[in-house]
Symmetry: C2
Subunit: 223 residues, 2 copies
């Protein structure tokens, strides 16, 4: 039997000014001492696998919750729940991104009471999610080695908007033409302040450093 | 020095009825005996590398031209041009997809005179490009092995709209948990009529069969 997960159909926002709405949501999160992290990437870059690895690394340090956003299916939220992480699945009704009001609808269902760290796993897409402030405190993108080192050239806004770039699937570096120095150069061109970490969600390499980054950001926000 | 390529800034369509406009464009292509193939995938699935491999396999069989669509950069059109393939770069002005009118703007710059096969490499994105009929005769999507076998569950419309699914990067199958039977089952659930081919654009495996598929479709259209 599949584990039971809550699936929320989030509705298109009625707010015209998403930036203002996002700022309002961030202020609410600040008041409630909840750190919301917006996680973005291409489809298949390893968002869910990274979260599963993080769930272990964060245990005992900070309480993790996950909101999984997808066009369809609930496979991601089911995986998180099976791993013992509180999670809900958001369906976007075909939309390619989440805005602040859709995120708020998800948070209302998730429940902010006692929450410490909530990760919003955005729709797998390098274009639209970067265009809409979700109200998250920090934004993180995953680039997987098989996608190639030229992605910051083609999807500039994603890199401009993100505080952290995580390069995933380092275990397959020997099998792909991927130059880490190239990707760092391109990413810094887009955003000189971006932090960059390397992980393999599959082998666990680098996950502790990623957990440290998240906990440090969350502690600063929740202080 | 970088090769010189033409970069076209395509403008958002003024047509309200994209489906009607797409049908009109297809009729024009039929009349001019031009086969337009819309190629879609996630970022980094290997669209351009596949086209480079196809360029060799199609030589002497059909004349290939390529329109590369991206948010930014001209790296893809430069690669095609360096390989001796007539190509132009379309910039979408931040938009996550192409519609029929944007495609028409690109074709006008490309030039239909004497063209036989034109591949439109859409923006790397599994959501938005599937929502807009470009006017292409056939639609093809590439799923690369590292992305995982669950993609048809999460991005249903892409699979519903495509005539051909090409599974790429088969050379790295040993390093990933990817079940071809699973992906075939999921893809056929979404679209029982979808054709499925396996390639490695890197090693050339399967490229001849893909070239055969394209030539057969183009010949039928141009007859």
């Amino acid at each position: 039997m599949e584990p039971h997960v809550r699936v929320i159909e989030v509705k298109r926002s009625i707010f015209e000014n998403n930036d203002k709405d996002a700022a309002r949501l961030r202020a609410e999160l600040k008041e409630k001492k909840v750190f919301l992290l917006n996680l973005m990437s291409s489809p298949g870059a390893g968002k869910t696998t990274t979260l599963l690895a993080l769930a272990k690394a964060l245990r005992g340090r900070i309480k993790l919750g996950v909101m999984e956003a997808d066009i369809d299916s609930a496979v991601d939220a089911e995986k998180m729940q099976a791993a013992g992480v509180k999670s809900i699945q958001l369906h976007t009704g075909g939309m390619c991104h989440l805005d602040a009001d859709m995120t708020r609808q998800g948070l209302a269902e998730f429940g902010l009471e006692g929450a410490e760290l909530i990760v919003l796993e955005n729709v797998g897409n390098l274009v639209c999610p970067a265009e809409f402030d979700t109200g998250a405190v920090k934004n993180m993108t995953i680039l997987s080695v098989p996608e190639g080192d030229d992605k910051p050239l083609k999807y500039p806004l994603m890199y401009e908007k993100c505080d952290l770039l995580v390069v995933n699937k380092t275990d397959v570096l020997p099998y792909f033409d991927f130059d880490p120095q190239q990707v760092e150069r391109y990413a810094k061109q887009r955003n000189p302040d971006i932090d960059i970490l390397y992980i393999s969600a599959k082998t666990g390499e680098g996950i502790d450093k990623l957990a440290d980054w998240i906990v440090a950001q969350a502690n600063a926000w929740r202080a």
